[in-house]
Point group: C2
Chain length 289, copies 2
Amino acid sequence: MAVSPPKPKDMPLNALRALEAAARLGGFAAAADELGVTPAAVTAHVKGLEAELGAPLFARGAKGVELTALGKRTAPAFAQAFDALSQAVRDLREEALPQVVHVAALPAIAQLWLSPRLPALRAEAPDIAVSITAMEAPPNLKRSPYDLCLFYGDGAVGRITDDALFPVCAPSFLPRLQGVEDLAAVPCLSDATWCDDWANWLAVAVPDGRVVPRGPVFSLYALAVEEAVNGAGVLMGRRALIAAHVARGALVQPFGPQVPIAEGLHLWAARPLRRSHPIWRVARLLGQG
Amino acid sequence: MAVSPPKPKDMPLNALRALEAAARLGGFAAAADELGVTPAAVTAHVKGLEAELGAPLFARGAKGVELTALGKRTAPAFAQAFDALSQAVRDLREEALPQVVHVAALPAIAQLWLSPRLPALRAEAPDIAVSITAMEAPPNLKRSPYDLCLFYGDGAVGRITDDALFPVCAPSFLPRLQGVEDLAAVPCLSDATWCDDWANWLAVAVPDGRVVPRGPVFSLYALAVEEAVNGAGVLMGRRALIAAHVARGALVQPFGPQVPIAEGLHLWAARPLRRSHPIWRVARLLGQG
DNA sequence: TATTAGGCTTAGAAAATCTGAGGCATAGAT
DNA sequence: ATCTATGCCTCAGATTTTCTAAGCCTAATA
């Protein structure tokens, strides 16, 4: 029976967060990814909790981990608590700096769609600073410090614009593209993550389907666009992203139809907002632009 | 505009906890005490948050700190979130080890009142393990991993027993105590935290009040009791705590009245419990004993 | 005027946390 | 049946966070 200060240490908060993420995402690797650490760290955290608890929270299998009954019963409470905490942090940030709006967007969208609209945004709302972070996938808004997300998606809510595919090239490149069949003879630029765009367009434009496009692949769509502008080849363009270049004549459509795609640009916020709120104002200005 | 992994680090959880505690308790020193760290650590945490936030959360004054308007607005959300988190941890612990009940008690109560009752408790509920932690002040049940608290208090809810003061000594010491006035001539044992007990009893027993007790002071009441049993002097006893010694004849009351005191033994739980719950069973068994 | 209480600062120490490399086991593919 | 990919584990060492200790400062109190 100890007397004075036998500090009954609580469980470490970071370990609890790891547990929560692993439980919610169904795996240590996914949790590690969300938390921005290695899976080994998550392993260690969960193991520490289980050791202090004296009972396993996950059943380990070769195909991954699964929550034990104990974990299943207790995990939701942690999710809620951390949600509340994240929300509190977001509110705190916002109260402290109400004039900064953090936008998360796909790199291509950030550079090709959002960037050209920023001057107008600044003009309309000079009091608001817009900070943009590019990332491959939409963040978990409940856990990340972003106010708005701008990505491709396929619902109706939050849709800003639909999109369509069509080939484009520099005006100087036009002579080399008399018809669709010329595609087999010129470099066909494409993006690594949208590698299906060519096939999807060809399926409509050349249903007989004997044209197989070849050409360099870029990991950044904006790079491919730049190359197309420089006359490096023909690009399968996404209307929403190359509209500015087309409008200014830097890119032209040599032939063929515009093929609508299921996904369009979507903009959404972390939560409902008052109409007077800076985040809401930015969303409205972007949605109209 | 960074591209891939510009990890937008969240605020550190431990710093947020320090902020919450400081806001709730109204000072860094108090927060440090609750968290079991030095005030310097709390200072650093809060300063870190303020730096990242770009706005002060506390107004520093020489007499302590006070929340700024920003802090006042945002602190409650953190308190709620951490409450939820603590509750989740408590539930987790309980689900994992439903048969262990953690009791927090005043050292004197733990040793002199609770300890003698443990054998009966074990007999009645052999499936439950009772773990006891002694501490000077009741813990914040919302933030500490204790299931039951056993301390002196003065309400009606949760009261187990009232208490009263009267002098006691070893039977071998009786000859030296013919009357109240002899108190001035013998060692009067007392406890450091209950230093008023002698005065309170004398105020009733000897209203004229010319007796001034002198004698060793102990930081642990149980030590004073032990010394009294060993014939070292006369102790101002608290009935609830020395009942066992009196019953077995190790201590006797030489003279004078029993003076009721306002505070009695109180037992309370962190939250409402089902009657079948181990914690509830322990509480009931203690409340009846 | 001394004392006390509460907070700040700094440098250094301690502890938590993370990484990186190597392993193991299973599932599905060749 | 063997190969490959996935997902997790372990361990040692590195890094970062967090903490302490000691001294200073200010305002209120005695």
